[in-house]
C-alpha cells in the first residue's frame, strides 16, 4: 500500500496535459487525414522520419498541421558506454526543429555497444556508476537539443545481480540530477513486475509524481511464466487497473496508446482510446485530484 502523497505533492491541474493520443502508424496515415479522428495528439517514432523525404514527410507535415505531435525515439541509447552518436543527435535535432513537438522522449536503456545496434531496448544495471554515466549523457543531450529529455522505463526480462537501486529510485535520482522528465509506461511496469516478481504498485508509490510528463499504455503477450511487451494486442485488464491507480495518485497526465504490431483498423484503436478516456475520467473523479480538465 502506498503511503499518502504529501500535501505539497498532491496532484495538481496539469498545464502540459495534451489529452489522449495515439502512436502514428503508416496504415492509418490516409484515414487520419480524411476522417480527422478524435485524437488529442499523435506520437511519432523519431527514427521513422529520419529519412530525406517522400511519403513519410508528406504525411508528417499534413498530420502535424492538424494535430499536436510528440516525438518518441528508440535509438538514443542514452545508457550505452559507447560515445554519444552525434550524427544521430544532429538528425534528431533537425527533426525536432521541424516538427516542434510538445516534448521529445526516448528510453532509459542502451541499444548498442561497440558500434553495433541491437535495435532492442536493453536494460541498464541500476548502480551508482550507471547513474553517474547516464546523468552526464542526459545533460549533454539536453544541452545539445535545448530541451529536457523525457525518458521511459522499459520492459525488462532480466535484472543485474549488481544493481543496488530499484528502477524507480534510479529514475528519481536521474530526474532530480538532470531535470529530465519521465515517460511512465504502465504496461512496462506491469510486464517487468511480473517478470521479476515485484508489486507494480511499489513502482507507482516510489516514483516522484512531479517528474512524470506522459504515460504509455500498450498490450503484452502472456507466456505464463513471463510476459513479453509485444504491443500487438489490446491493453490487458490488469494494466488498465494499474493505470487507474496511477492516475488516482498522479492526477491527469497525457496518455498515449501504442500499437506496433498486428495493427487493427483505426476505428478499433479509437474505441480503445475512448476506453482509456473513460477510465481516466472515473479514476480522477475518485482520486484526490480536485481539478480535472479534458
Amino acid at each position: 500500500m502506498c503511503p499518502d502523497v504529501p500535501t505539497s505533492a498532491q496532484p495538481q491541474p496539469n498545464p502540459s496535459m495534451l489529452g489522449f493520443g495515439l502512436g502514428l502508424r503508416t496504415p492509418h496515415f490516409e484515414q487520419i487525414l480524411s476522417d480527422s479522428p478524435e485524437v488529442d495528439f499523435f506520437e511519432i517514432v523519431s527514427e521513422n522520419f529520419m529519412v530525406a523525404g517522400g511519403k513519410p514527410h508528406y504525411y508528417l507535415n499534413a498530420i502535424g498541421e492538424r494535430y499536436p505531435l510528440v516525438m518518441h525515439g528508440v535509438s538514443l541509447s542514452i545508457g550505452s558506454v559507447d560515445p554519444l552518436n552525434w550524427e544521430y543527435l544532429q538528425q534528431l535535432r533537425y527533426l525536432s526543429n521541424k516538427v516542434q513537438p510538445a516534448w521529445l522522449s526516448d528510453h532509459l536503456c542502451f541499444t548498442g555497444i561497440a558500434g553495433v545496434n541491437s535495435h532492442d531496448l536493453l536494460p541498464l544495471p541500476y548502480t551508482e556508476e550507471a547513474l553517474t554515466h547516464v546523468a552526464n549523457r542526459v545533460r549533454q543531450v539536453q544541452d545539445y537539443l535545448q530541451r529536457p529529455l523525457v525518458l521511459e522505463n522499459v520492459s525488462t526480462y532480466l535484472e543485474y545481480r549488481d544493481s543496488s537501486l530499484r528502477e524507480w529510485e534510479f529514475l528519481n535520482h536521474l530526474a532530480n540530477d538532470t531535470g529530465c522528465e519521465i515517460l511512465l509506461d504502465i504496461n512496462n511496469i506491469y510486464v517487468s513486475a511480473r517478470n521479476h516478481g515485484f508489486d507494480p504498485e511499489d513502482f507507482l508509490c516510489g516514483i516522484e509524481p512531479h517528474h512524470i510528463r506522459q504515460i504509455h499504455l500498450a498490450g503484452h503477450t502472456d507466456n505464463g511464466d513471463h510476459l513479453i511487451d509485444t504491443h500487438d494486442q489490446p491493453i490487458a485488464a490488469a494494466v488498465f487497473s494499474l493505470y487507474a491507480s496511477a492516475l488516482r495518485r498522479f492526477g491527469p497526465i497525457s496518455t498515449l496508446l501504442e500499437r506496433d504490431d498486428n495493427i487493427p483498423p483505426l476505428s478499433e484503436l479509437i474505441a480503445e482510446l475512448n476506453s482509456i478516456r473513460l477510465i481516466a475520467k472515473q479514476s480522477l473523479s475518485q482520486g484526490r485530484t480536485h481539478v480535472v480538465t479534458f
Binding site: A52, G53, G79, D120
Partner: protein, 263 residues
C-alpha cells in the same frame, strides 16, 4: 562487482552469441520463475526476430523467390556477418545486395543480387529527398533556341541501375503472386524514381535515353548531352523528335526537377 562496460558487453555478447552460454550468465540476478539462461534467450530471440522481420519486410519479393527456408538461412548468415551499425533499421538491408554478390552460394545466382538491388532502390526512391518536378507545360514554355544552354536537374529520387538478368520481370510476377519466369541473362538499364504523386516508378531505358540521363545526372548542359542522338542515320529533325520524346517521357515520369539556363 562488474563495471557498467563489463555488464553491457556481457549482455550484448549473450545476444550475439547463438550458443547457450549458461556458464557465463552469472551477472544476471537468479530469481523468479525463469532461469538466467531463459532470461538471456528472450533478448537473443528478440534480436534475431527483429532483424529477420526487417529483411522480410524490406525484400518481400526476394523472400518469396527464395522461400521461407532459404531466406531464413540467408538472413541468419547476413545477421551474423553484417550486424546493424545504424540507429535505424531502415538501413539494415543496405548491404544485402553486395552480400549476395560476394558470398557463396548466392553469388552463383546473379538474379538474387539483381532482385535485392532492385528492391533496395525502390526503397531508396520512396524516401529520397524532396524536390520540385518540372512539368511539360513549364518545359515547353522554354524557347528551343535556349535548349543547348539548358541544364536539366535530375530529381534526387532518380537512380539508374544496370541489371544483368531478367530480375524485374521475375519481381513483377512474384509481386502478383504468379510463377516467376526462368532466369535468363539479360542486360538492362532500369530507371527508378518517385513521381509527383509520391508513388515509386521504374522502367527500362534505351541506350540513348540512358546516356542522356547519365549526362544530365553529371550536370552536363543539354548541348553536350545530345551526342547519343547524333550517332545514327536519322535526319536532324528525326534526331530532335527522338530527343524531345525522351525528354517528354522524363518529364511525365518526374525525372526532371528543374531547369537552369546557362548564360
Amino acid at each position: 562487482m562488474s563495471s557498467l562496460s563489463e555488464l553491457q558487453h556481457s549482455l550484448f555478447n549473450s545476444i550475439l552469441n547463438n550458443e547457450d552460454c549458461t556458464g557465463s550468465l552469472s551477472w544476471i540476478a537468479d530469481k523468479g520463475t525463469l532461469s538466467v539462461s531463459q532470461r538471456a534467450s528472450i533478448y537473443r530471440s528478440a534480436y534475431n526476430i527483429r532483424l529477420y522481420e526487417t529483411l522480410t519486410n524490406d525484400f518481400p519479393q526476394l523472400f518469396k523467390y527464395l522461400g521461407d527456408a532459404q531466406f531464413h538461412k540467408l538472413a541468419q548468415y547476413y545477421i551474423v556477418q553484417q550486424p546493424s551499425q545504424h540507429p535505424s533499421l531502415r538501413y539494415f538491408g543496405d548491404a544485402l545486395p553486395g552480400f549476395l554478390k560476394a558470398n557463396s552460394p548466392y553469388k552463383d545466382f546473379s538474379q538474387l543480387f539483381d532482385l535485392a538491388l532492385f528492391e533496395r532502390c525502390l526503397q531508396t526512391a520512396f524516401d529520397a529527398k524532396e524536390a520540385p518536378y518540372l512539368t511539360i507545360h513549364n518545359f515547353d514554355a522554354i524557347s528551343t533556341q535556349q535548349w543547348p544552354k539548358m541544364c536539366l536537374e535530375v530529381h534526387p529520387s532518380v537512380n539508374l541501375i544496370q541489371l544483368t538478368t531478367n530480375a524485374v520481370p521475375i519481381w513483377m510476377a512474384l509481386k502478383e503472386d504468379k510463377t516467376p519466369p526462368d532466369m535468363i541473362q539479360q542486360s538492362t538499364t532500369w530507371l527508378i524514381g518517385r513521381g509527383s504523386s509520391r508513388l515509386t516508378y521504374f522502367r527500362s531505358l534505351t541506350q540513348e535515353a540512358e546516356q542522356l540521363l547519365k549526362a544530365l545526372i553529371n550536370g552536363q548542359p543539354l548541348a553536350s548531352a545530345l551526342e547519343p542522338y547524333l550517332n545514327n542515320d536519322l535526319t536532324q529533325k528525326q534526331q530532335l523528335e527522338k530527343l524531345h520524346k525522351d525528354i517528354d517521357s522524363f518529364l511525365q515520369d518526374g525525372v526532371i526537377s528543374c531547369v537552369e539556363i546557362k548564360l
